[in-house]
Each structure stands twice: as C-alpha cells, then as structure tokens.
C-alpha cells in the first residue's frame, strides 16, 4: 500500500441489469441488455425504451428490510441499497466505527416525489436523497451532494478522493444515484435525443440515448487505513480530471475540448502515458453529437489509429445520468478484476469520421492494468477517472 494512493475497498451497484455487483457481471459477460419496456415509471411515453431497475419502491424498501414508506424518493432507495453493498464488501458494514464520509451525486434527487406533489420541492432537494442512507448507516457522519448532471457521480468520487488526500477522512463512500423521473424523461425527449429503439453507442446509425436508472458507489480508502484494519483493496483510483467544455449547455464541442482536457488531467495525475491505458469505458451515450465529439477527443489524446479498446455500457443499463459515473466505475473495476472487456452492445457499423470502432466481442485475458472511464454532463461538465490494478 502506497501512502499517498487512494484505494477502492468496496463497491455496490443496482441497475437495470439487477441488484448487486454479481448481477451486473453476469449481464456484461453474456452481452445481455437491461433496456426495455417501461414498467415502473408512470409516464405517458410508454413507447420510449428505458433501463429501469425492475422493482417498484415497495420491493426496494423490502431489499433494505424497511417498511414501505411512499415518502422516500426512489433515488434515496437506490442509493441506500448500493451503499449497503459497498460498505459490506469493504468490511465496513454493521458495527463499523463512525467517521466515514458520504459523497453522493444526483440531479433528480427527490424529483419523483416533487412531480407527484408539487408543494414539497424544498424538502425533495438533491441533498434529501442522502437522508435515508444516513439514517441507516450510523458509521457515516458527513454527507454532501454533487450535482453536475451526468458526471455527478464521477465528480463525487473525485471530491471524495480529495477528502482523503488532504487528510480530512480516511474512508469515504462515494458515487451517484438517480431514478427515472417524468421530469428528465420529458426533458431529454424535448431535446429529441432519445432513441425510440435500443441505443447504439459509436455506431454510424446511432439515433440517441436510452435513459436508465440506478446507483453505483465505491468505498475509497487511504493506504494507511487499509493497513491498520488489515483490509484488502480491489484496485487503485490512480487519476482523475475535471474540465469544462464551455461550449453549450446541452451540446459537446466538435473536437471534444472538455473531454480532451479531462482525460489529459487524469493521465497527468496518474503519472501514466496514453499508451499505458489498457482500455476505455467511454461515456458513449449513443447520441450523434456525444459519440463523435468523444471519439475525436479520444483520437486527440491517444492518436489516430492508436486509441486503446473502447467500449460503452450504455446499451446495457441505459444512460443512468448522475449515477453513470458510479455504476460504470464499478464496471471498470470488474474489468480489471476479471481481466475482461464487455462487448459494446448495439454496435454494427463504424463511424466514418473516426479511426476506431468499439469492442465487438466480450474479451478475456486482455492483460488489463489501467482502465480509463469517462463521464460527461450537460453544461460540458466533463470528467475522467483512471482505475489501476494493484501492482506487486
């Protein structure tokens, strides 16, 4: 364990692929999508495919051993389920000592409750999504919430790592949670960026994204803390970068300026060269604009013809917006632990203006050491993270 390094010691996830890390891994191995017909969200747009967590709020309460309470936002339930798994994997479940921080990313927050009952916006804020988790886990004594749209969870992980780096905390659980809401489904629909079929990241014929929901959290921990409690790390959180595209609120710049900068910053912090990156879990939403812009940025960072294997998992889970940086961080760590790259679902034809195509088949024994993960948000809030295999 290196003194200044940030380690991942636990992870938890819930998505359209199921509840828990193992359920995600099965689906990724089998190339099975969780995107399909809308069953839980009460929208008139039944024709739009979504990546729903296949359980209503009553069932989610049951997973947590709670009596059903219709006042609890769905985002809060997803968060608590995912945090519980992450803490438990890290050996920080029941009876763990206090002093753990929680940094959560969300944008929808309690919007699902607000759109039902408009009088309650001031209690259904972004921050309210943490209340359930805080109530359930007394080992957590500080929580804050990052809200940078679709990069919220990634930025939460970075802030969490800085809490450790500056000596303020030894252990921080961080990630993001977002439920589907009519508000943002209709928002994305009004922008005409939802595919009416399953999305096709990096495909020439891509026609938009599918929205999804879920939560993904990591336990970040200092080497000192891991040593003192004789716990093992899953991987190292070796670099991260945040930059702003500063181009448009909902569109990416043609050459992916923000994405280029965020990846460059992450590489710089990790001390790695572009050729050290084994593979990339792209933001890859399946919109015409994102995939071309991100592709151009990848070519700028790695060189045309030198881009490492790229995959997008958006066709598995849908775009889980604020949660995506957390859920996909878990996918990156699964890749590192199993030396595996999932098939980039939905792809068939290369984008003419790009020099690469995404991973076509699930691949094993890839020799993965460093995985780059991108999460980009509205407003050009672009973030990149690097997860590295523990050497030696």
């Amino acid at each position: 364990m290196k003194d200044k390094a940030i380690y991942v010691s636990g992870m938890g996830v819930i998505s359209a692929l199921g509840t828990g890390v193992e359920a995600q891994f099965s689906a990724l191995k089998e190339g099975r999508s969780g995107v399909g017909e809308m069953r839980v969200l009460n929208s008139v747009h039944r024709e739009i495919p979504v990546g729903e967590v296949k359980a209503d709020n009553r069932t989610l309460c049951g997973i947590l051993g709670l009596e059903y309470d219709e006042g609890i936002p769905r985002t809060a339930l997803l968060e608590a389920i995912s945090v519980k798994e992450a803490l438990s994997m890290a050996g920080l479940g029941d009876n763990a000592p206090s002093g753990i921080a929680l940094v959560s990313g969300t944008t929808v927050g309690g919007m699902d409750k607000f759109e039902q009952n408009r009088a309650e916006i001031t209690i259904n804020t972004c921050g309210c999504a943490c209340d359930l988790t805080l109530g359930l886990f007394p080992q957590i004594d500080f929580a804050t919430t990052v809200s940078t749209a679709c990069s919220s969870a990634a930025n939460a992980l970075m802030f969490a790592a800085d809490l450790i780096r500056t000596g303020r905390y030894e252990i921080v659980v961080a990630g993001g949670s977002e439920c589907l809401s009519k508000f943002h489904l209709n928002g994305f629909n009004s922008l005409m960026i939802l595919d009416s079929h399953n999305c096709r990241p990096f495909d020439a014929g891509r026609a938009g994204l599918n929205l999804g929901e879920g939560a993904g959290y990591l336990v970040l921990e200092s080497g000192r803390s891991l040593r003192s409690r004789k716990a093992a790390a899953l991987c190292e959180f070796s670099g991260y970068g945040n930059a702003c595209d500063a181009f448009h609120q909902t569109a990416s710049s043609p050459q992916g300026d923000g994405a280029f900068l965020s990846m460059t910053k992450a590489l710089s912090m990790s001390g790695l060269r572009p050729q050290d990156i084994s593979c990339i879990n792209a933001h890859g939403t399946g919109t015409v604009n994102n995939d071309l812009s991100e592709g151009k940025a990848l070519e700028r960072v790695f060189g045309c013809g030198k881009v490492p294997p790229v995959f997008s998992t958006k066709a598995y889970t849908g775009h889980t917006t604020s949660a995506s940086g957390g859920i996909e961080a878990v996918f990156c760590i699964l890749s590192l632990l199993h030396d595996f790259m999932p098939k980039s679902l939905g792809f068939s034809t290369r984008i003419e203006d790009l020099s690469f195509e995404p991973v076509r088949q699930a691949s094993w024994d890839c020799g993965l050491t460093h995985v780059l993960d991108n999460a980009f948000g509205f407003g050009g809030n672009d973030s990149s993270m690097i997860f590295s295999k523990i050497s030696g």
């Binding site: 940078t148 802030f159 508000f183």
Partner: protein, 274 residues
C-alpha cells in the same frame, strides 16, 4: 495560504440587478436564463475584475435549490400539457450545474467546474472543494459561488475570488473549512474542539464568531441578519470577511470563525484570519 481576494454580491433591489444584467449579458441570452445564471455570471465577472484574476483555475458553485424558476416552469408545462409538445429551453436551464457551466461558457473557461447541492451546506461544500484543491496545489485561483434564486423568503448571489497569492485587494485569509453532520448536541462541541485543535487553537483565541443561525448556549456570536436561503452561510462569510478587512491592522482581533448550524443537522466551521 488561501486568500479571499474579492467578493461580489448582488443587491436585493431588482431594478439595480436588472441594470447589472443588461451591462454584462446580451438581452437575447438573458431572456433564456433564470436569475441564478445571470447572478452567477455578473458576480463572477465582478469578482474576477476586483481580484485581478483573468481566468480562474476553478469555478465551483453551491446552490440549495438550483434553478428553481426554470424547474418549476418546465414541470408546470409538463403537467399542463400532459407530457406532450414540450419546449426544451426551460429544461436545459433547469439543472443545478447550469449555473457554473453557463458561467464557464460566458467566461470561455475550460477549468475545473463543479456544483454542490446539499441543503444548508451547499455553499460550504463548494468552498471546501476549492480549498482542498488550493491546499493540494492543483489550482492557484478559484471562483466559489453561492446562488439561490429569489424566493419569497430571500435569495443569495455571492461569488468569492480565492487565490494562493496575496495582493492589494486581499480581504483576509481562509485558514480552514470543515463541514459535518451532527449526530446529537454533544457532537457539535466535539467537532468544534477537533477543528480548533487541527488549527492549533482554543476557543479563547477566537476573537469573534459570526453565524446566520442559532448556536448552542455559551458561545457568544455576532448574528448575521439576512433573509435566509439554503446558501445564506455565504452571506455570513461575506460579512465576516468584509468586516475583518475593514479593521485597523493595529487594533485588530485576528482570528474569526463563522459557524453555520442552519438546519441543526448539517453544519460548518470556516476560520478566517487577517
């Protein structure tokens, strides 16, 4: 050391605000923007000007309720039109992060950009982010904003320009920030002790305490009166910084503290020094 090199805040007076908006934001763009977007742009431009920073290394915003006007607008249209035929404009400008992001677009600033929204500690979370990155030497300057839109009970529009370099406009230094959650009443005292110890201080060495909220008995403090929003702790910090800067350096009490116990749950301490 981390210095507050400028603070810009907007008046409650709507006519005066409109004047400032029209000075800095083209009318076509201004029409689409909610109040927080405009407030953030104007206070950021003024804070940069007063601090002598040309392009910040970070733009970090804390907002309790985000772009509540545009959120309400899109939601109302969605309900009234039964989810059909919706215009995206209000949605586009409804996300919390559009405040910091649109400020970056206006400034053409590709630097670090982040937004915090966590009830009564939204601003302090943003401040803590900037302070940590300054401590780590990753950035040298930052704009830290507190933005909450005009609601019947108040609004907040303040931007602080922070730097690791002191200059002629410096108001004071930010020594440390901590944000925490109270478990019970005794916890507040424990956290205050730990915070002071971390800074090699005891309570008797704190010359003045500012708060916009109620404090436990036995802690004398200067109350800040402002119309409260979720980000009004930023106004408490602004008041403290300005008063500290205005003190005569010979007779000045040097170490001040602001305490936020806004909702008796999430709390913060900010230590400033002349």
């Amino acid at each position: 050391m981390i210095y507050v090199n400028a603070i810009s805040s907007l008046p409650d007076d709507l006519a005066k605000k409109d004047e400032l908006y029209s000075e800095f934001i083209p009318p076509m763009a201004a029409r689409r923007m909610g109040p927080s977007l405009k407030d953030s742009i104007v206070t950021s431009v003024l804070a940069l000007r007063d601090s002598g920073i040309s392009m910040p290394d970070a733009i970090v915003v804390g907002t309790g309720l985000g772009c509540i006007n545009n959120t309400e607008k899109f939601l109302k249209e969605m309900i009234d039109n039964r989810e059909r035929m919706l215009q995206p404009t209000a949605f586009i400008n409804s996300t919390h992060n559009s405040i910091a992001a649109q400020t970056a677009v206006y400034l053409k600033c590709h630097s670090y950009n982040c937004t915090y929204s966590h009830n009564g500690i939204s601003f302090e979370s943003a401040l803590l982010d900037a302070v940590m990155q300054l401590e780590l030497g990753r950035i040298h300057t930052a704009l830290v904003g507190a933005q909450d839109e005009f609601l019947p009970d108040g609004h907040c529009a303040v931007t602080f320009a922070l730097s690791d370099q002191e200059n002629s406009s410096t108001l004071c230094a930010v020594e440390d920030v901590t944000v925490f959650r109270t478990v019970d009443d005794s916890y507040f005292g424990d956290r205050l002790d730990a915070f002071l110890e971390r800074n090699a201080l005891d309570l008797s060495q704190i010359d003045r305490i500012f708060s916009d909220s109620r404090l436990p008995d036995g802690i004398p403090f200067t109350p800040i009166t402002c119309r409260r929003t979720l980000t009004s702790p930023a106004i408490a910090l602004e008041t403290a910084c300005r008063e500290l800067a205005g003190q005569n350096s010979s007779d000045v009490s040097k170490t001040w503290l602001t305490i936020n116990t806004f909702d008796n749950r999430d709390m913060s301490f900010i230590l400033i020094r002349k």
